[in-house]
Amino acid sequence: MTALLDRPHSGADVALEVRDVTKTFQVARSASGNNRLRALDGINLTVGRGETLGLVGESGCGKSTLARTLMLLEKPDSGTVAFEGQDPFGLKGKELLAWRRRVQMVFQDPFASLNARMTAGEIISEPWATHRSLYQTAREREARLHELLQLVGLRPSDARKSPQEFSGGQRQRIGIARALALNPELIILDEPVSALDLSVQAQVLNLLNELQEKLGVSYIFISHDLSVVRHVTDRVAVMYLGRIIESGTTEDVFERPLHPYTAALMSASPKLDPAARPAERIVLRGELPSPLDPPSGCRFRTRCWKAQDICAQQAPPATTAAQAGRVHLGTPHLRAAGTDAAPVHTAECHFPLEDPQKAGLRAVAAG
């Protein structure tokens, strides 16, 4: 099986590289007698420095598992992870601690990820209890705490409050402040805004954006809210049943999806603006198949309207947009930045979709 090509918009500055990572869980035996759940199945990812990579996909497709694996909370069965050339799974002691400092995570659930019995200040300064060398004196820590609170839009007096006294959005900010406490270079954000309502969501997204601009942090941004993903990410990877089935620049993926699943996803996303709503919505039939017994060949074939016999027999190869007969358009602002090594738009599908614009042209021509 050919690996899905994936590289950041600027080939030189690779922060994180994930190759063929597979993770299985032992679970209760299913009807078919299988008890190994493949949550991740050969994941390939690259994140560039200062880049935001979006990760979207149906619930249960393995997004959080990937995030947890990258944070060393789960041990992959196979595959490699390299952050700035270093394999964290081989690290020990001091080196591991140093690595931990550089990669941090904001958890999916702002309620569960904060200990209700600690104050906000304690939560945010907790990492320093482990990384003692970072700020030696209590005064330094105090100063940094205030700085962090300010950075995420809380006030110094909030440090004494406990999580229950904050609204969901404020809690999420505490989580972000905690992740920032160690000045990391990569932050994995697992659905950082899904628990938040619109106005708070806007606050958090703005904050993230600002931090990236100021500090050059890289993000992996996991979400199922497509409008948000579209808003914040540079590139997007679409996951389905433990595999990345499509990846490319945000604009490519959103505007010109190659994979039918991506197209369905885009089409299902509700739109505020009636004009933006697709005339005909693709509603997928059926549920996500059980990851314990994934379909043979293409995983999506059970719900795909384009499926044919070959889909059941062969796993689809990775297809680039060019191979699919697409004109590569690239992203305007990247072109402006003068990079020529533009990221590749690929998908795993036997029958990649046509370019909607071309299809539109053809329709016009036919009409």
């Binding site: 944070m71 990820s113 019995r117 990492p127 409050k161 160690l182 606050q203 703005n206 600002e210």
Partner: protein, 340 residues
């Protein structure tokens, strides 16, 4: 960009037109508001509000004082025998205050003995509970946090202790060592460890899968640090509640050992021993066993009342129960007006 920082201090949304109320939503401005700001209400105040828990606390406090100072004040009274003044009934002012609760079969003051016994009882029950609690819960927390073989081995050890006859242990300790308070404490502590071990393990195993523990792991915090910071504070209220039930159990176990003749031995005296000794006079001198029995029951109920309260008071999702309905309304009643 300016949008992002709008609610940072100093860059209020209304720029120049900064009014106290508009200053912020989170920072209360008026003094009255500031006072109410602390949303984790003072525990002591909450305690005063619950009449039952409060009286429980008072009783326990009195018991503690008695244990601390009683023996010094009434030690002699408790041992002074007077065979001619045996088994005098209580509540007879003619006998003097020393014999207000009557006298025992050797003419000693029941009051004095009860007071002196308080210390022994607490010296047995408190350390036994404390030792079992500390060992059992730390062990359980550790086992539950690490899971795997450590958990399994610990649970099997708990099984062993649970199915071991504690009476044999009592006899062994009494035989190999000597009957002393310390040894009784040892037996009672040892045999009660599994109770805490199991409870702490279950909670800890549940906690270690929580996201905030994962978060701590991502900073590289060591397991012991996580246990201290995240697991123990959450497990503590449950363990404390359990400990009060155990406190009652231990007092009873001690009295059962006395009954079987392998517990506290005279001339030491504990409530349990007093009940046990007094039982043969039940028909002739009821006060000998009733008063110490009452002491046990009242202390146990008090400890339980306090524990029940503590459990609620330390649980953010239950704390509202301590509010007396309709006591105080924090509802702003402003007549709405239609305006143009």
């Amino acid at each position: 960009m300016s949008q992002t920082t709008q609610d940072l201090p100093g860059t209020g949304p209304d720029g120049t037109k900064k009014t106290p109320a508009g200053h912020s939503a989170t920072e209360p401005a008026s003094p009255a508001r500031r006072e109410a700001k602390s949303t984790t209400p003072n525990l002591f105040r909450l305690l005063l509000r619950d009449k039952f828990a409060c009286s429980g606390a008072v009783v326990l406090f009195v018991v503690l004082l008695t244990a601390a100072f009683g023996p010094a004040l009434m030690g002699d009274l408790a041992t002074k025998q007077n065979l001619l003044f045996a088994n005098k009934a209580p509540f007879n002012p003619a006998n003097g205050w020393e014999y207000f609760l009557g006298s025992d079969s050797l003419g000693r003051s029941v009051l004095g003995r009860l007071v002196v016994a308080t210390r022994t009882t607490l010296l047995v029950a408190v350390p036994a509970v404390a030792v079992a609690m500390l060992i059992g819960s730390l062990w359980g927390v550790w086992a539950g946090y690490h899971r795997g073989w450590r958990e399994n081995a610990s649970m099997r050890i708990a099984d062993v202790i649970m199915s071991f006859p504690s009476l044999l242990l009592a006899v062994v300790v009494l035989y190999v060592f000597s009957p002393s308070i310390a040894n009784i404490v040892l037996i009672l502590a040892l045999t009660r460890i599994p109770i805490y071990l199991r409870t702490a393990r279950a909670e800890s195993a549940e906690l270690q899968s929580r996201t905030f523990v994962d978060a701590a792991r991502t900073f590289g915090a060591r397991p012991n640090a996580i246990i201290v910071r995240h697991v123990i504070p959450v497990v503590t209220p449950t363990i404390l509640t359990l400990a009060t039930l155990e406190f009652c159990y231990v007092m009873l176990a001690e009295s059962s050992l006395s009954f079987l003749g392998i517990g506290i031995q005279p001339p030491d005296v504990s409530w349990g021993l007093l009940v046990s000794q007094g039982r043969q006079y039940l028909q002739t001198a009821w006060w000998l066993s009733i008063f110490p029995g009452l002491a046990i029951v009242i202390t146990a109920i008090s400890a339980n009342l306090l524990a029940a309260w503590l459990r609620i008071a330390t649980d953010p999702s239950q704390r509202w129960r301590l509010a007396v309905p309709g006591r105080k309304k924090l509802i702003t009643r402003i007549p709405a007006k239609e305006s143009k």
